[in-house]
Amino acid sequence: MTDSPRAKDGRAPDVFRAGGWIPMRCHRDQDEVDFVIVGTGAGGGTLACKLAEAGFSVVALDAGHFWRPLEDFASDELHQQKLYWRSERITGGDDPVTLGSNNSGRSVGGSTVHFTMVSLRISPDRLKSRSRLGYALDWPIEPEEMWRYYAEVEDALKISGPVHYPWGPPRGRYPYRPHEVNAAGLVLARGCEKMGVAWAATPLATVSAPRGRAHPCVYRGFCAIGCSTNAKQSALVTWIPRAIAAGAEIRDLAMVGRIEIGRDGMATGVLYHREGEWRRQRARNVVVAGYAIETPRLLLNSACPMFPNGLANSSGIVGKYFMPQSNHAVWGTMEEEIRWYKGPPCMAICEHWNYTHAGKDFPGGYCFLSQGPLPMEWSHSVAGSRGLWGMELRQEMAKYNHYAGLKIVGEVLPQEKNRVELADEEDELGLRIPRVIFGYGEEDKKLYGHAIRFMRDCLDAAGGKDIWPEEDTAHLLGGCRMGTEPANSVTNADGRSWDIANLWICDGSLFPTSAGVNPSLTIQALACRIGDRIAAMASRGELSHPARAFA
């Protein structure tokens, strides 16, 4: 592993060629660029591309490495932990969230480098859950507009999906054909057919046919620890190369510690740590795209005399309404050999309970997906959740090839008490570390209770034996929610902070509700929309005015 930056001196790694380079436009720190973006994942990487292609000068900073997957990614769970955000964070509350692995990322490309590629749209009704379904709150964007941006992202990533998607309003054809569903997915299919609900091949961001210099997915099954063949359409191999080609500069191993504010109360740039020293990048606009923990952390850590409670925080809700998604599972053994290590982990999906309301005693929605954990991750379930050890553990683990499972991505409702705040401890750079406080609400518990009952029946109907449930969480959302009122949101629908006109947020922390689908497609759709909105505002000369004038 290299510990010095790769993207500098006019070039960046070519992700498609071992040892390769591509030219990259570089800026000096004292140059005032149009946009400095903090984070290069689903939010920041996508926005860097959109803004650079719109002609803005862009510098995007990431705390992690700039990998070349073909030479840097091993087929090994332990080694690939290098993709996770492993700096210290404190986790507490009634239901402390396990952090640092699946729900974190520290690489150029962010957590899309190790996501399971599940690419789902939030249903129109869930985007308007208050006015249409009577719970939580509405997103400040019209569903029809979000769905247009979903189509843009699906095309940009060449999503491989089914010809007919069984739920929701009609959508266009997925760009690439669906993948052959593996045995783990066929278990879900069999169970759903017995239960009388629809299932589908999961729309996945891994190509089912050649694309450019990426060959089709070879079903090696290590997706959740990084794709070494580039079939996975992560931000690292899609938006980032596009951004660089359009003139954006990406700086790897650059940890931003503070957003700086001028006398006029506007952001002037960021202070960041790279190659052993603190440096300052000046910018006309600052975008924070550090995901649901690092984004509020940076805003809070940037407190200054003019904004003593942190930036963009006049409402006092920066860090609040933080939402993991519930990620509960059922596991059982099958008569057949399943060998769930082959292929993407989640090849089949059921979104029935995102679109059906009858028979539910809770307002939220969830989907469930087939599973394919690698051995180390699986041992965490068998030892950690089930509490097995000794020879009993080894014998249970030896059933690995016969196991199948179903796991939800469940909606967790927003609660003010669930939050990201600053702890008193500091990290090695002297920055206060975050503390994450979380506890499920009653509606959340009813949701995952329902999900476990339904999935248990489903797996049983599919032939599963010795079924047992597991509690888990995935995907971290909220903390800087967007809205229509400065009093109860941090930004407007464009991710523009109410308090500081040239400070923007573009990541999952904007989500007002978590919804019951994997969030990466939505984050990228939001980023595409924010990019278009910024370009439109710039062309009208509205970028330097406060946000509320255009809310």
């Binding site: 700096s87 402390p96 051995p375």
Partner: protein, 203 residues
């Protein structure tokens, strides 16, 4: 909890694929290092090292590899020596290094309260009973007062199994295909197996 381990995959060894298209150069480098460079003791005291070895021998017993068990404690020692965290710490727990040192000492202290001797000196059945009590938070020693026993056990077990199931010997015993790049898999359906996958024994 004891007895012999019964392999479902006789004759299979994931390392046999070392020179095949299933293993790329970076994977060979990583696994070679894991197999050949077992870390020396640098963090734990001799006492902690001994106790933790004895704990690992119960949590992951390896009677089938008496001569060459998969090493676990040396990798925990290395992680603690380098202070490589996992990205989170429970609010109720002290920092990682302190948690391990106090936790291991508390296991010994618990054994002294219950049986008047350190963990490593106990017969296997009492070792297991003590570990199970700690797992369920049913503890008597004062040393657990500021260290939640259940949580410590959970963190310790998770770490131990992470290291064990990151070893090729563990991949072999569960019939996992192991490293797979650049060659992945072709046959994905029920009861389908590529020629380079483990063949399961049927009675």
């Amino acid at each position: 909890m004891s007895g012999e381990f019964q392999s479902r995959f006789p004759g299979y060894n994931v390392l046999d694929k070392w020179d095949s298209p299933s293993w790329n150069e970076q994977t060979r480098r990583v696994i070679k290092d894991r197999l050949e460079n077992v870390p020396e003791r640098r963090f734990f005291s001799e006492q902690e090292w001994t106790t933790l070895h004895a704990i690992c021998a119960r949590l992951i017993p390896q009677p089938d590899r008496a001569d060459a068990p998969v090493p676990i404690v040396p990798f925990i020692d290395k992680k603690l020596h380098n202070n490589e965290g996992d990205g989170y710490r429970f609010e109720t727990m002290p920092p990682m290094r302190e948690a391990w040192q106090r936790g291991i000492a508390a296991v010994d202290a618990e054994c002294r309260v219950r049986h008047g001797t350190a963990f490593a000196e106990l017969p296997d059945n009492l070792k297991d009973a003590t570990l199970r009590a700690i797992q369920h938070g049913d503890v008597r020693s004062e040393t657990w007062r500021d260290l939640p026993a259940k949580k410590f056990f959970e963190i310790m077990l998770r770490q131990i199994v992470s290291i064990y199931y990151a070893h090729p010997a563990a991949w072999t015993e569960i019939g996992f295909g192991g490293p797979a790049s650049p060659r992945g898999y072709v046959r994905l359906g029920f009861d389908r197996r590529d020629p380079w996958e483990a063949s399961e024994a049927h009675d």
